[in-house]
């Protein structure tokens, strides 16, 4: 099984396919592996001689070599029958063709993102691609990020440091970092020509690398000697330059083991990717997706709420209406009681016989006013009650309140008619004469009998006088009694009228209120029924969904388990891939 096959298998996994980032990583890797190119990325700190190393390796001045910081963009050099060169400008994608001689200048000029070079070189045959990168200064600068981007695509890394000093802790740290990105790192010590102690530095560095637990072979080279060797064609000088070891590494390790490198890269990538995906799947297995169950619970909660609401609004309507009726009755009685009190006060003094007509008008006004006010108040209270009940329902299920259809009590008032005039006629003259005579007769008789005892005749001046006085007195007493009677009659008449009115109007409003109650009940019952229907439906659907979901979930869990098993198998294949040679 080749690396490509395993990657393809990984890409076919639905669990991996769902992760765009991972598939793109694997696709990139696949593209790179399918491409026979073997990318060797040259990295290192500032001024370590990376570009000169590349130039010396290829025997051409492609990369900029300068005493100041020279390279600001990577140069990608591959095999070609005919030399060619191109650069990518910032903000552009396409390659812009340039002269081979200009490449170094363009790269140090800083106005390119990347340079691409093709040239006929034996070392580049077999798909070897050499990438020279800008120096790494700390792990932050712009140059550094470009270098790290190249490093991510590397099949092999040449980590360059000069032989003038031992590896610094920073350089060791960078080496360790490079091995985490690419498993194939070769340490290259440059400038051996300048360093009298390069051999001891090489030994010391080998020790440092081993102490750091890194499996990085080291070679020491001199680019200057290599260039000399290439210009003179001397194999001795070439051997002296240390380059044969480097070229040997490229040929025997990098190229020859390209298949192994590819398998290793693929293996590591797949192990990393499956690790991530498996973690996600295991996490999914352990937590159940509760979304549809939540839907059912929600519907059931809503139904329960509705049941409680329904009981509540019915109670509210009943209680509210009972209260309203007694309140309305009380209100009417209160209003009329005040009118009656005024009437009593009026008739305590006035003679109804004289003021009756005037009084009738006043009373009619007062009563009409009281009845209408009571009616208004009733309507208002009823609306308020209806509103309160409606508030027990949701905003949308409330609907518009029905027309309550209150009947105006005007008809009652009309039917009642006016106040019946009681008998208020004052007594006639004959009546008064008789009353007067009756008084004077008894007076005259009383005093006549008394004076006759004194020997006076029965009718004398005393008895006649007494009779006259007594007659007048009787007459006055009779007149007062008459007034009192008329006043009482009038009061009774008014009382009876008002009672009748209260009874009639009360009956009317009770009837009206009962009707309103019926209407409200019908209205809200209808609303509640609609709501209930909707809820029942949603509960049914939620239940169906939950059932289906349970099945789906079981199915999903099964799928996940299968996927995990497949991934485990895939991981085994990936591990095997790295081990086969």
């Amino acid at each position: 099984m080749t690396a490509l096959d395993v990657i393809d298998e990984a890409l076919r996994q639905p669990a991996i396919g769902r992760r765009r980032d991972l598939t793109s990583r694997l696709s990139r890797l696949r593209g790179r592996l399918a491409d026979p190119a073997i990318r060797v990325v040259v990295v290192g700190g500032l001024k370590q001689g990376k570009s000169q190393l590349v130039n010396a390796l290829l025997g051409a001045s492609i990369c900029p070599v300068h005493d100041d910081v020279a390279s600001s963009a990577p140069a990608v050099i591959r095999h070609a029958e005919q030399p060619w060169a191109a650069v990518v400008r910032p903000g552009q994608q396409r390659l812009e063709s340039i002269d081979l001689e200009q490449v170094a200048q363009e790269i140090s000029g800083g106005q390119v993102v990347r340079a691409e070079v093709g040239m006929p070189r034996a070392v580049l045959s077999g798909g070897l691609v050499i990438v020279d990168t800008p120096g790494v200064d700390g792990l932050r600068s712009e140059h550094t990020s470009r270098t790290l981007a190249e490093l991510a695509e590397a099949d092999a890394v040449l980590a360059v440091t000069d032989a003038l000093t031992e590896l610094s802790p920073t350089e060791l740290q960078f080496l360790r970092f490079a091995t985490t990105i690419c498993p194939n790192v070769l340490g290259v010590l440059t400038k051996t020509d300048l360093s009298p102690r390069w051999r001891s530095h090489l030994e010391r560095n080998r020790m440092l690398v081993a102490e750091a637990g890194l499996a990085i072979p080291l070679v020491a080279v001199s680019s200057v000697l290599r260039e000399r060797a290439l210009s003179t064609g001397s194999t001795d000088v070439n051997a002296e330059s240390g380059f044969p070891a480097l070229v040997g590494y490229l040929e025997n390790t990098v190229k020859a083991q390209a298949g192994l490198l590819a398998r290793r890269s693929a293996s590591e990538a797949i192990l990393a990717v499956t690790e991530q995906v498996s973690l996600g799947l295991r996490a999914e297995l352990s937590t159940q997706d509760p979304s549809s169950l939540a839907g059912l619970e929600e519907a059931q909660r809503a139904a329960e709420l509705l049941r409680r609401q329904s009981a509540r609004w019915q109670n509210m309507l009943m209680d509210g209406m009972a209260d309203l009726m007694s309140d309305v009755d009380h209100d009417l009685r209160e209003r009329t009681r005040i009118i009656l009190r005024h009437t009593d006060q009026a008739f305590d003094k006035a003679d109804p016989a004289k003021t009756w007509d005037q009084f009738c008008d006043w009373l009619a006004d007062k009563l009409t006013d009281a009845v209408l006010r009571n009616y208004d108040w009733t309507v208002e209270r009823t609306h308020w009650l209806a509103q309160r009940i409606a508030e027990q329902f949701d905003e949308e299920s409330r609907g518009t309140l029905p027309e309550l259809g209150f009947r105006d009590p005007a008809s009652v008032l009309e039917r009642m008619g006016g106040l019946l005039t009681p008998d208020l006629a004052p007594p006639g003259i004959a009546n008064k004469v008789i009353t007067g005579l009756r008084g004077s007769y008894s007076g005259m008789l009383m005093f006549g009998l008394l004076t006759s005892l004194m020997g006076m005749p029965l009718v004398n001046f005393v008895s006649v006088g007494a009779g006259a006085v007594m007659g007048a007195k009787t007459l006055k007493e009779e007149r007062d009694a008459q007034l009192k009677r008329r006043q009482a009659v009038a009061k009774t008449a008014v009382q009876r009228h008002v009672d009748e009115l209260v009874f009639q109007v009360g009956k009317h409003s009770r009837d009206a209120l009962r009707q309103v109650q019926r209407r409200l009940r019908e209205h809200f019952t209808e609303q509640a029924e609609q709501l209930q229907d909707a809820l029942t439906d949603s509960i049914r659907r939620a239940r169906e969904l939950a059932t289906a979901d349970l099945q789906a979930r079981n199915q999903r869990n099964q799928t996940i388990t299968e996927e995990i098993n497949t991934l485990v198998a895939l991981r085994q294949r990936a591990q095997a891939l790295a081990l086969t040679s």
């Binding site: 000169q52 100041d68 700390g138 051996t192 300048l194």
Partner: protein
């Protein structure tokens, strides 16, 4: 200048005051007493840099007693050694409160150029570029390229060594080229005199061998001329000049600054209410002393905190003593002719700047500081004339 003497006395008085005030605290007294002792000693320059940056070689080359390796406390000024200037160097310099007391040295400068004969020329160009780089300019006063090994060799070249170099230079051109192509070849044990060559390589480095043989071929035929040329090429003279301009000429100011910083350190570490008067006095000296004003304005101009029109910004920095504090270097003149007339002209011009209504407050304040500097220059020149 007379103000520098006043400043020195003021700074010493501050140290004494602090010593009296803090006599109860053994730690503070120890520190202050040490500072007072240092204050009476010559200017101390610290040499810092990464391991293997060439610090000890440079110290050998400078051969100055008052230059110490390592730590930056207890010193008045700093030489920071670096190869190619890296992020970590910038970080190391970042904490520096007053960049005017730091010079960055590109040590082992020959290696930058791959040991070619023209490597030092190239390194000096890199130094010039870095000096002009605003980012680094903020962090130091100057950037100088030095090859310490070459400088040491130049200063101490023996006749035997010269003879060995001359013998090498006498070899046929191609033979010599092959020999100095790499250290391995140069130390080829199958050739004779390998011990001698080994000694030469230790002393000069491959670059030094290449350079000195080339120089002998070009006619530097006797030891003293070759030695002088090696020292010249090593950049050591440039470094000495930079130290002279930036450190030695300002020594009293830098020493006073160290003393005042020391007093402030104690005041901050152990604040106490009865130290208020001392605190105020230290601040007064720092604010009113013209030399401090110059240092601060110089730093402000270099860091861009204060910006002057570009055509006069360079002149301002020069007058403030960026290139040295002698009247001649402040005025940008080579010899000590009658500078007075010219100085008066400069003063008039800067007085005009100081009252320029278009300028912002910070700019006119800067111009006023420069005016005071010009007055100081004229004063010095007038004294000298008398």
């Amino acid at each position: 200048m007379i103000t520098q003497e006043v400043l020195t006395e003021d700074a010493r008085a501050m140290l004494e005051w602090a010593l009296r005030l803090y006599r109860g605290s053994a730690k503070a007294v120890n520190f202050l007493a040490q500072q007072r002792q240092l204050f009476d000693e010559p200017l101390r320059v610290g040499v810092t840099g990464r391991a293997k940056a060439g610090k000890s070689t440079l110290l050998d080359a400078l051969d100055e007693d008052d230059f110490v390796e390592g730590h930056t406390s207890d010193v008045d000024a700093v030489l920071h050694l670096t190869g190619p200037v890296r992020a970590e160097d910038r970080q190391a310099l970042q904490g520096n409160p007053l960049p005017v007391n730091t010079i960055v040295v590109l040590a082992r400068a020959d290696e930058l150029g791959g040991g070619r004969v023209d490597a030092m020329t190239s390194a000096k160009m890199v130094a010039r570029r870095l000096r002009a780089e605003p980012e680094l300019g903020e962090l130091c006063q100057d950037v100088v390229a030095v090859d310490g090994l070459l400088a040491v060799a130049g200063r101490t070249l023996t006749d035997e060594e010269f003879d060995a170099v001359a013998a090498l230079a006498a070899l046929p051109r191609e033979e010599l080229d092959e020999l100095v192509l790499s250290t391995d070849r140069f130390l080829n044990p199958s050739l004779e005199d390998v011990v001698l060559r080994q000694g030469l390589l230790e002393r000069l480095g491959l670059f030094g061998v290449r350079l000195s043989t080339t120089l002998v071929r070009r006619g530097y035929g006797d030891p003293s001329r070759l030695a002088a040329e090696l020292v010249q090429r090593s950049g050591l003279n440039d470094l000495r000049l930079a130290v002279q301009r930036h450190f030695t000429e300002r020594a009293p100011v830098l020493k006073a600054r160290s003393a005042l910083v020391a007093v402030e350190t104690v005041l901050r570490a152990e604040p106490r209410p009865d130290a208020r008067g001392l605190h105020a006095e230290v601040e007064r000296i720092q604010v009113t002393t013209q030399d401090f004003r110059e240092l601060r304005l110089l730093a402000a101009l270099q860091t861009g905190r204060v910006e002057l029109p570009s055509e006069i910004a360079a002149e301002a920095e020069r007058l403030l003593g960026r290139g040295g504090t002698s009247p001649a270097s402040r005025l940008g003149l080579d010899d000590d002719q009658d500078h007075l007339q010219l100085a008066l002209g400069v003063l008039d011009r800067w007085q005009a700047y100081a009252s320029n209504p278009v300028w912002r407050r910070a700019q006119t304040d800067a111009a006023k500081t420069v005016v005071r500097t010009c007055e100081g220059i004229i004063d010095t020149l007038a004294r000298a004339a008398r």
